[in-house]
Subunit: 326 residues, 6 copies
């Protein structure tokens, strides 16, 4: 059998642990979870759904932290090993050039994506309702905010790591305001990162994720297509459960789903995932992957309270998705 390869950079220093003895799960937890505790930033109530990216041989992260007034902020952090993080104590002062037009500088659930020459940050912004905020930086020092990508009400804006057919591509999950009880994934296209169109329907909430779904980390380019890890939500009589799903998308028309994994690939089980401000949540926002070995490290928020880490192997995961396709 041909081995599936990640198309991307070699990152030999990403966090990694082999699958534990006796474990057959396709994704497995880091043994020392959670890696970031709720009070790691002074004054913080929680630090959870956060994005990391490789930079200059080390790692940079943008962290969602809710303070004790339950206000959402983004914080910048740095790490040599992707596990021990040095997070700044003041929220990012970045995104406030055009407050009137794009909403105030708060936000949550960030993603970071390197495209061509710069890092794009997308996050859930508030402009008379949740929508997708966009900014970029060359160096994580100075940030330039762009227009919000879409009208409200939208969440989980996630970019592709390169233009496709000459256009920027972004997932999003339009829904309503509040704790939205529905929502499917769409993909939108832009020539300039400021105007968006050619909106395409990608995947619907169904099966174990029957309530809503949303893109998670930046898609990973592979031989087989784009590897997408997403969060999906089902609802019991005692609330929502956030698990992780996976799919493979067409490389040129990424709104076309080649394989969608029928089972979830990760589910809240540990106490730090099941108990916290929002019980039963595992919410992936970023991966680090090493093309040479096919290793993937998944960063996820747990129980809307802490940050945790899990691992998978690209060829095994893609085989699993194909073997268990919907």
């Amino acid at each position: 059998m041909e081995v599936i390869m990640i198309i991307g950079a070699n990152l030999p220093n990403i966090p990694w642990q082999e699958r534990p003895q006796g474990c057959n799960d396709i994704v497995w937890r880091y043994s020392n979870n959670p890696i970031i505790h709720r009070h790691q930033i002074p004054g913080a109530n929680s630090i959870f759904n956060s994005a990391v990216v490789a930079k200059d041989g080390a790692f940079v992260g943008i962290f969602r932290s809710d303070d004790k007034a339950m206000q959402q902020h983004l914080f910048l952090g740095k790490s040599q090993n992707g596990i021990d993080w040095d997070i700044e104590h003041d929220p990012m002062p970045l995104f406030n050039q055009k407050e009137e037009q794009v909403g105030v500088a708060c936000g949550y659930d960030p993603r970071v994506c390197w495209i061509e020459d710069r890092y794009y940050v997308t996050w859930c912004n508030n402009y008379h309702g949740p929508t997708i905020g966009v900014a970029y930086s060359y160096d994580f020092k100075k940030f330039y905010q762009l227009e919000n990508a879409f009208l409200p009400f939208n969440r989980n804006g996630v970019m592709f790591p390169r233009k496709i057919n000459g256009k920027y591509m972004m997932f999003s999950r339009p829904s309503d305001n509040g704790h939205t009880p529905f929502g499917d994934m769409y993909l939108s296209q832009s020539p300039d990162m400021e105007h968006w169109g050619y909106h395409r329907y990608v995947m619907k909430a169904e099966g174990w994720a029957w309530t809503k779904i949303g893109a998670g980390p930046i898609p990973i380019e592979t031989d087989e297509g784009w590897l997408l890890i997403f969060h999906g939500v089902g609802t019991t009589c005692n609330g929502m459960i956030y698990s992780m799903g996976a799919a493979i998308l067409d490389i040129d028309e990424p709104w076309k789903v080649k394989y969608r994994c029928k089972p979830f690939i990760f589910h809240p089980e540990e106490i730090y995932e099941c108990v916290g401000d929002v019980p039963n949540v595992t919410f992936p926002c970023a991966t680090l992957q090493d093309a040479a070995t096919g290793r993937i490290a998944i960063y996820y928020g747990a129980a809307d309270t802490v940050v945790a880490l899990a691992f998978t192997q690209v060829d095994e995961l893609i085989k699993y998705i194909k073997d268990n396709a919907l």
Copy 2:
């Protein structure tokens, strides 16, 4: 006092009746309402929220008609006097070039807007949820469908009759799926009618229209700014009431509201407005206006069942808005 003038064409043959004796209302009804009955198209259950436009000395209309399976269709119609309409018996076969991408060819609540060299039609399209469909025609014979303007869930897409600052401008009302119980007005901008951005918040649902609002007819350019007639909805214990409101917007930055009229300007009172498939609805979708006289004829759907007509005078209406500004 200086007289407010419509900036636009002279249309001496639009429908018109003087305000009845003893009536002090700022907008008054046509005495022979409704002008289009629910069964005027064979097989139709209702004909209501519809758009009309002047063309070649006569009038063309795109009519929303729900058939007896309660499916929504758009129909083309023609009239010499704007009151007696000859409506085709088959729905418009137009909007189906790219079904996969933009949804099937059904729709409702159309608006028609002449810009530069062609007629743009916008309507509430269904692409995995309501969003704004867009098409254009030079002659009302051949139509060309463009991409949907926005992601779902959106309704009441209404264009401006000319570019502003080099960009096409469109109102919309993002909300959720179903009978949305909330929604404010936004304005979006496009260089090419296919990609949209620079979304701006315009007006919120408040006062008598506390449930939701949405743009109505194409805005009318005047000396004083853009005259906007919109529908607003309040909710009682027995359902929603759709009335009409009015505002004046800045001529160059039309997301800036100069005056918003505190009272509604029109409200369901007559039996054909209060009784029907959806009681207590007056929903304006189009106006015809004559620059020379300042006369404005408002076409509105009544009770989601029939089409009716009302009148106002531009200078009186603008004075009323300013005198009663919020």
Copy 3:
């Protein structure tokens, strides 16, 4: 073309009016509607969803009347012509032999069905929730109550006029308590009118009847299969609309739908249908039909307030269903 025939008795004296000049509707109203007014029974607030049946050359009816305490009762009535009804002033004292087991003697939305040697009455009974009450009579003087057919929560129990494959057949519409916002049609079978099983799914709420559906009059046997008239409900932002639909079912396996008419065949339009205790309701509970001529008279409750009458022709209706099948 072969003419479709009703398989049943000749009833030359059922109410009848020809389709009015210029009317193309498949079902048309009686010109003197409503035939029974809300106060026709002393102390009544309303008389509406009611069943009639031919007997001894005249007609007998069981009428739903809500009194001024909004309590539901069934009343017996008689008529020579099916239009002018002599309704008793006291509610039927019948159904109270086994109160503990089957619920108190109130009820609503009756149907009456002649099978073999007796008249069966089914109605919406209250036994710790709505369910289907059953009784029979040979003469409309003495009634014998049987066990409730089903567990709650159920409404619209409608029998077939003969056994099929040796079993009694009954439609019903399981749902929940209260003003149920959902519900499909099922068919159940019984060897003895007291135990029911072999439950079969028949039709779902969809299209114009997307909220819920329920069987209406006793099905009419024809050459083409069982002709079923049912009510279907759609919901607008201002409440539910009850219209009539039609379908043709397999003669031997009547849970199999051969044709389901995509459009409704009747819809609230007249003031007595659109205004009353529950606006926008037309709810059919019975037909009278004449095999010789194919005439069908439909009795329906209007606005949960009065009883009205409409007409159709069997061959035209069946052709319409087939030509407009879903």
Copy 4:
């Protein structure tokens, strides 16, 4: 049989019509209803739930009118015959002495009650939610606002026309904010009209009024006890219906219900009651009664749009309540 007598003043000039020929209803409509139209006050959208009282041989009224911004105001009016009303064009400027403490000077659903030496006005005030506003006047020229009687959320505050056991007595209907879907009647007691306590449960929503109930006009003192007319609300799938009920309360402990009439005594039937801003509403706020003849004229709001008038005879009504007691 002993004739039941009103204990109160003779008012020979109250509006009156005998019960129409053939009518058996316990309460009957004025033949020229509605007596006040929705636009009778310039700029008004509606005039409905309003209170009237006898004064100096003529009549004074406080009218609820919602303007075209759907803001609620109270207006003063005068009439010689109780039918033709001269209503002021400006809202009452009265109730604004202590805005910080008691809420702004708007309100709705007023009642007026003469006690000892002055007229008390109670209404639904807004102080961070609906509650009972209280003011008094000696002459309907100068008004003195007192503290709100209760904490929110409360409506339908209705006083008794004299102290009982040395205390002022007031009905109210605590519930929640918005279009409250529940609510029973309570009675509270005060030594000084500013502090209230000894709260007593009076009657629950049940039967035809299963959604909520609220006191209507000032109770009428009779030989048999306090005659209370109230509104009660039931809810159908298409909204709420407001009808009128009646009860007789103990003369000394008026929270004790001696008889509660099982049927409603009045129900929306006429077009001006069933069609309007809120369909199917008859809401009584005041009566005028003549002790000498036992005539009672009931003023009620219809469809939240207009004011109408109905009549009853005290001995007949009390007999009806007792004969039909729950």
Copy 5:
């Protein structure tokens, strides 16, 4: 005092632990709970509400397991001691003879009941909504599916271990679709296991179980009547709590409740009951009991995630029910 006896077989090898020192609870936990972990079946997400039965000196179980696609399946298992279970890795392929009529072969919350000569399995089947699936087996090798017992929407179908008055008896809990927020217990009767009737109301949701109730294990026959253990649900602002209740039913007319225990007899307290896919759930589906000693072992699902075990003594439990009867 006379000792209450179980009427049934001696099963000396059922699991058993004496009540722990210092514990006064009427039902106590197995010290090594949970006995079945969530991943005990490969690919399983959870194993919980499951039924066990004695067979040939050992034990057989039918286990509910939800896979990682959150699809519900039933699995067969065997055990020598009732604690250590050997569960098959493939779901039961049994119930698919008549898919069209009775729904697909998935299901949840099974119960198993020996009657006369065979084992009956009942479970929550999906036939256009939840209803009660029925099958039987002589040997747990070959299964024969019968018709669904009832129309949807129904859950918790639980049989009696012998005919009563010549009829099969089954509890059920009719309600609605989804996470039903209401539901009482009923009992239905059948001459042939295929047609059901003579439906009787048994017990309502009230007290600590105010949201809904449902029969749990097969009722245990005793000197005092049928001993019924059921689950009951109360709802807090943070979701539902599933506890266990108990009652004693008349031996010949088992819809008659002789004693209903006012307190619950078991409540979620341990971490494996309070944390998992559905927090705060203890859901009993089966008991094993030994007539000779009066020992009862209760199998219950915990947190919709694992299977656990608890114990009680029949005479103590029945005394407790009688001493604490509602």
Copy 6:
């Protein structure tokens, strides 16, 4: 800087622990929490939101305990050190003198307040809905119940420890019935503890406490004003979170908020706060404070299951409130 002082008694023997090493929180937990377990009273399911007060050199408490029928009762307890409590096994038989008028003798969420010469107990009483029960005692042996303070629907009635301007003062939180999803704090005034008026709005639900708020312990008089600790509730997709907030109120007009702390001061984090009958609840009902040292011990219910203890220092807390004022 001037040190803030508690105005009140010296209570050197209240429970106390210094802030743990490395902890920067303004309020910190007792290391041996919870201090009272759920089964500490025989037959109890839970013991939680409870009030304590100093008396004669020791401490007295009134404890909320829900029994295994989930009925709420109040129990009396005594303690020498405020940590180890001797709680009576029978509920308080006290409050039943006037059942008809004020509701039965059950209740929950008690507070105890010494004023002048006696201890007042307030609690959530049930009189046709939740309202504020009131009783007093001189000795915790004999209790005298007064009238309920307010009409339903009300909770969290909390008195001030002395009259202000000659009037008794009580906080309350009017809302609706059930698990109220909204509610602000008000203050009411009484000359006699039986009639209440001059109701004043105090604080609204906002920020982290956006769902509802309610006063907690008896306010503490300080140099800076009244120190108020309250509970506030936010709602996630998985339910409500109850945290503690703090504010300083004007000493003479205590409805005027001088400073409201923007962050919460305490939040559920420990397993006994996050797991239990109602997850994620910390609900303060009482404090003990020592004027000499400024020490404050806070008693709070955790997860609606147990009683726990936390500490703060008055000058630090007041500084924190002022430094972090909204």
